[in-house]
């Protein structure tokens, strides 16, 4: 039997605000437990919610970037359930009137680009953080009330790869917008995947399982692929899928059951009576929409169109907002875009990774990298020397100063270089003979000897050329 995989994804993102969704207490990650709360976050009797303007602004940015239609009349509802991490016994969310509806995310697949349609994007509040141990449960309410957006896709996703591409793309967009930290490992972006299988060609949905606890994009793909295999094996053997919540276990590399779902839970949604409908100023919405930062797709297109980068380089740069921003900064000082891209993608990324730094915290001044690129280009330094210079500019140094201090000007003076080449050739008659006998390798050896003699300052291209010329003469 051939099955089609049907996947829908719900993503929760913490918004980067200074205060909570409904209270003026600070939002802080990693603060001392229960130090960033007030009576509202703790659900004390008599407290009332008060909507955070910045959270609405960030939600409008996200909804706009995802091509959603914005509802200018903001309303909230109560989602009722009891859990010790939910102080009020209900969560304030936007069940009936989400701020954004429709919209889509475009992903790249093996067969070209594909639109994953969105159901909705809405604002809500986060729960408290719990730690379970042998003796019971410890609760830290700092996270309670943190603003969230939930982005719900339609069931348009068909594979683990697409699922990963969708999450990756969404993360990148939200990161570019600056609306969220989008750190899956820290929980500022959380991802729930609904998967079901159905017979190819069928329009009915199969029984789904929901996978939680996906702490990386790689895990999204692995979990989906595992789950697809698991479900299809059950179905192929004539079994039935049980509706349940599963989590991805990294150690086992498998999804494991968390709890069975007994029908649908009734959250008894009803409109929040303490928040009247909020009419957003159309001019404010337009202003937010017209000041959106450049998004990944637009930036990639620009890199290809204006900088002539290839698809791969553009993708790699755009994949990290910080890296792309650094690259853009370098490009303000040089027109050697391809070289700037290479150095940013290869050397800078590696150095930053090693130092565990983000590109936005790079100690290297983009102008210094541009200057160094020019030095390579006009053969002031060799590529080999450049690596040494790069190490220094990564410490914040000016490349001109580095070259001067280390006395590493590349030997590009042909008279001087020629003199050195003559000496090398004189000392290596065997190599000349090899060359004459058709062994091209000998040139490499001779270039190496010249480089050695020049302590690496010889311009390799020029050396190569001159050696060939001299050999021809002998």
């Amino acid at each position: 039997m051939n099955y089609e995989t049907v996947i829908g994804i719900e993503i929760h993102c913490e918004l980067k605000t200074k205060t909570k969704m409904f209270s003026g207490a600070p939002v802080a990650f990693g603060a001392v437990a229960n130090s960033c709360v007030n009576e509202i976050d703790l659900g004390h009797p008599g407290t009332l919610p008060c909507v955070n303007k910045e959270a609405v602004r960030l939600a409008i940015m996200a909804a706009t970037a995802l091509h959603c239609e914005i509802d200018p009349l903001v309303k909230f509802d109560r989602k009722n359930y009891y859990y010790s991490d939910l102080p009020k016994g209900f969560q304030i969310t936007q069940q009936f009137h989400p701020i954004g509806t429709g919209g889509y995310v475009e992903i790249e697949t093996e067969t070209g680009s594909k639109q994953i349609r969105l159901e909705r994007i809405h604002m809500e509040e986060d729960t408290a953080k719990q730690f379970h141990n042998e003796e019971g449960t410890l609760i830290d309410f700092n996270r309670a009330g943190t603003p969230l957006v939930e982005i719900v896709s339609k069931a348009d996703i068909r594979s683990g790869k697409e699922a990963a591409a969708y999450v990756e793309k969404l993360r990148s967009i939200l990161n570019y917008l600056g609306v969220s930290d989008v750190k899956m490992e820290e929980g500022s972006m959380r991802c729930d995947v609904n998967i079901s299988l159905r017979e190819m060609g069928s329009r009915e949905y199969g029984v789904k399982s929901e996978i939680k606890n996906l702490t990386s994009i790689a895990n999204v793909q692995k979990a989906v692929e595992y789950e697809v295999a698991r479900q299809s094996e059950i179905l192929s053997n004539g079994g039935t899928i049980v509706q349940e919540t599963r989590r991805y276990d990294e150690a086992q590399k498998a999804t494991v059951s968390m709890r069975k779902k007994e029908g649908n839970v009734d959250y008894k949604y009803f409109p929040e009576p303490n928040i009247p409908p909020i009419r957003l100023d159309e001019a404010w919405i337009k202003e937010i929409q017209s000041h959106l930062p450049e998004l990944p797709d637009a930036r990639k297109a620009r890199y290809q169109r204006e900088y002539g980068l290839n698809d791969y380089d553009a993708d790699v740069l755009v994949a990290s907002r910080e890296l792309a921003q650094f690259f853009d900064a370098v490009c303000q000082y040089t027109k050697e875009y391809k070289m700037a891209a290479n150095w940013t993608i290869v050397e800078l990324s590696a150095a930053l990774n090693k130092a565990n730094l983000k590109a936005s915290d790079s100690p290297c001044d983009p102008k210094h990298l541009a200057d160094m690129i020019h030095m390579i280009k006009d053969a002031t330094i060799s590529s080999k020397q450049a690596k040494i210079v790069f190490e220094e500019i990564m410490k914040g140094k000016d490349p001109k100063q580095v070259v001067e201090e280390k006395g590493m000007k590349q030997m590009s003076d042909s008279t001087e270089l020629l003199k050195m080449i003559q000496e090398v050739l004189d000392n290596n008659p065997k190599s000349i003979e090899d060359f004459k006998n058709g062994k091209d390798r000998a040139i490499g050896f001779l270039v190496g000897q010249v480089m050695k003699a020049s302590k690496g300052t010889a311009n390799p291209a020029m050396t190569n050329q001159l050696i060939k010329e001299e050999l021809a003469k002998r």
């Binding site: 605000t17 229960n34 955070n52 910045e54 010790s84 019971g136 309410f141 409908p277 009419r279």
Partner: protein, 97 residues
């Protein structure tokens, strides 16, 4: 209306995180019969095309709170009313049998 049997009413209560005793359940069964009659009265009222009234006044607001830290309570106050506290957290211990 669903069968308002004892188990069903206890389930309704348990969803709200409390229990009812037999007498309370019996009372509720009677009250649900009354409720049923009242629903019938409500059903006689024509509400075709009438919007739900959620707030006494339906004037829209344009007020949104500025994103500035305005009020935070001390950790001591946050934990003051909790019956059990451990390591700065609200603690819900398990009962050791």
């Amino acid at each position: 209306m669903e069968q308002m049997d004892k188990a069903y009413i206890q389930k309704l209560a348990n969803q709200l995180m409390f229990d009812l005793n037999d007498e309370e359940i019996l009372d509720l069964q009677e009250e649900f019969v009354t409720l049923q009659k009242q629903i019938a009265l409500l059903e006689q009222i024509d509400t075709e095309g009438v919007e739900e009234m959620i707030y006494p006044f339906e004037a829209e607001t344009s007020f949104l709170r500025e994103d500035e830290v305005s009020h935070v309570i001390s950790r001591e106050d946050a934990l003051r009313n909790a019956k059990a506290v451990m390591a700065g957290h609200v603690h819900v211990p398990k009962v050791v049998k």
